[in-house]
């Protein structure tokens, strides 16, 4: 048994050495989210790290009216290593309507014959990538948390209570990447070329974008913050959520919430951490008045250090917390703020 294990590891090693030294690298396409004003959407850096773990040359596609600014930004290497940036500037794909973005991705795919098409597992990525996969008649592999090889990936199922290793024999692997499981590896000063590409989105349904309401916040983005403070039902009243915000501001962190208080209307939906909300893996997560339902734990249990303050000693959150205080959150919080100011 030991002998065969050793043999196998030697084999894996040589296979890997062969593939990296080979000139036949695979091309892969990362679809970036472009926000209004040409700002790059969340998770691109983490997605580029995952894409570069596949033995591939990575091109990034940007589209929308403000794509050119995003293209320049990405070509600098700020988010990670890229071979080139494909700029599909067009008014047609304004606001990233899926029906219009999908054909632009398929156009790039036709030109570049990519083996992998990849996005971040953000709302943008989740909306676009399965449509692209279906149009290519291939499976999509969403929420990839580990790249094992060019065709083998690990993803969470059952709210992260099990990890599935999946293999795809499809000619094109279509993936979305779970940001919390990949670091950002900038390649500053890279100076990758920006190529203008055509953006044909004719023959698609006439979906019309009407309006949006985006919450403006000075705080760091929840999905990539190094400190996250989250609040739950144990805070009792909506106005008590201010405690979460004060602690987050004191620590320079982001603010999150459980589904229960999102549903109760205390805070906006995009603050929800969990299986169906955002997945975070900060250096420090602090849960205030959170019991720790399976669905919430799915979104934060990969945090480096977990702190829980809850009056119920039996609360499931204590099974994952590195440091717990069993106590009244309203009594502990003022003390905690005072200690932090020392």
């Amino acid at each position: 048994f030991n002998h065969s294990m050793a043999l196998r590891s030697v084999f894996n090693y040589s296979a890997r050495a062969f593939s990296t030294s080979s000139a036949l690298r695979m091309p892969s396409l990362v679809v970036a989210e472009v926000l209004e004003g040409g700002k790059v959407g969340g998770g691109l850096g983490n997605t580029l790290t995952a894409a570069n773990q596949i033995d591939a040359d990575v091109d990034v596609l940007v589209t929308g009216p403000d794509a050119a600014a995003a293209a320049t930004d990405i070509a600098s290497g700020k988010y990670g290593k890229v071979r080139s940036v494909l700029n599909a500037t067009t008014e047609e794909t304004a606001h990233n309507v899926a029906e219009k973005v999908a054909p632009v991705v398929l156009g790039a795919q036709k030109e570049g014959n990519y083996t992998h098409i990849i996005t971040a597992s953000t709302n943008f990525g989740k909306n676009i990538i399965p449509r692209v996969a279906a149009l290519l008649d291939v499976a999509a592999i969403t929420d990839v948390m580990k790249v094992l090889s060019a065709n083998s990936f690990v993803r969470p199922i059952y709210a992260g209570n099990a990890l599935a290793t999946v293999e795809s024999d499809d000619s094109v692997k279509v993936l979305s990447i779970r940001s919390a499981n990949f670091s950002v590896e900038p390649a500053e000063g890279l100076g990758a070329p920006v190529k203008d590409v055509s953006a044909d989105c004719s023959g698609v349904p006439a979906t019309e974008w009407l309006s949006n309401e985006i919450a403006v916040s000075e705080r760091p983005e929840l999905a990539s913050a190094s400190i996250v403070v989250a609040g739950g039902r144990g805070l009792k009243e909506p106005e008590n959520f201010k405690m979460v915000e004060e602690l987050a501001d004191q620590l320079g962190g982001a603010v999150g919430a459980t589904r229960a208080i999102v549903d109760a209307g205390w805070v906006p939906n995009d603050m929800q951490i969990g299986q169906t909300g955002k997945v975070v893996a900060p250096d420090l997560y602090i849960g205030l008045g959170i019991s720790g339902a399976i669905q919430h734990l799915a979104g934060m249990k990969d945090s480096k250090v977990i702190v829980a303050i809850n009056k119920d000693e039996e609360a499931p959150i204590f099974t994952v917390a590195d440091y717990g205080i069993v106590g009244d959150v309203f009594k502990v919080m003022p003390e905690l703020m005072a200690e932090l100011k020392k």
Binding site: K126, P130, V132, K301, V307, Y323
Partner: protein
């Protein structure tokens, strides 16, 4: 307007799942099963459309083994008019289900297909988008509000950072987010009535679809468990530990 609503039978959301020792999957024998929570929201929205006289008929569909009849009966008890059950014992994957729904659309000609945004077992979040893609229909995913406006739907969507509104021409695919509505409890008389509503069994062969998934699950494992933590007495000790032991402050 006719609405097709997809429902999936999954392990109940409150169950702590167990990975099989041979790593082939998750234990489903003798485990409480229910309708996927997002599918419940999709059914509720369809029923509300009917109550608002926007929808005329609601057809609930499910793809899966014999036992999926349970969730179809639940959908009928919530207010669906009839059900179609595509009986299939193998593993279902989003692309295969999307193709099955396409075949059912060709048979039933609905104007709207309502689905949940994801099922809480495989957590894929794909089927609605895939169906919209292969139908070349508009998609309104992660919907938090749905209103009819002439020959279109105006749908509010949850997006990163906030929300947006789209106007999608019919026919269209809509996937429900948690905030869309609060599903009703089914009352006993409705459960009794649901038993008399039509439920049509079909096979994938009847629809000319191949459900065999192309994605291969090599193994299913338990996630790494976290080491047991400690309880500290007060805020002072907590801050001290975070600064000097965990070194995160």
């Amino acid at each position: 307007m006719k609405v097709l609503v997809g429902v999936k039978r999954v392990i109940d959301y409150a169950v702590k799942i167990r990975v099989k020792p041979d790593q082939t999957g998750v234990e489903t024998a003798n485990v409480k099963m229910s309708m996927n929570p997002f599918c419940e929201i999709a059914v509720e929205e369809a029923v509300r459309m009917k109550e608002k006289k926007i929808a005329k008929e609601i057809v609930a569909v499910s793809v899966g083994p014999k036992q999926n009849e349970d969730v179809l009966r639940t959908a009928l008890a919530m207010g669906a008019d009839r059900a179609v059950h595509v009986v299939y014992d193998g593993e279902t994957q989003p692309l295969g289900v999307a193709k099955t729904l396409k075949a059912l659309i060709e048979k039933e000609n609905p104007e709207v297909v309502m689905l949940g945004k994801q099922s809480i077992d495989d957590d894929f979040n794909q089927t609605g988008q895939m169906l919209a893609g292969i139908m070349n229909w508009p998609q309104a995913t992660f919907a938090n509000s749905v209103e009819k406006d002439g020959d279109s739907l105006v749908v509010g969507r949850d997006i990163d950072g906030g929300e947006e509104k789209l106007k999608v021409p019919l026919p269209a695919v809509v996937t429900a987010d948690l905030r869309l509505n609060e599903p009703r409890y089914v009352k006993l008389p409705n459960i009794v009535k649901a038993k008399k509503k039509p439920l049509e069994p079909l096979t994938p062969a009847d629809l000319g679809v191949e459900l065999m998934g192309k994605l291969k699950t090599v193994k299913v494992e338990e996630p790494p468990t976290r080491q047991a933590g400690i309880k500290v007495a007060d805020a002072a000790e907590l801050v001290n530990k975070l600064k000097n032991e965990a070194k995160v402050l």
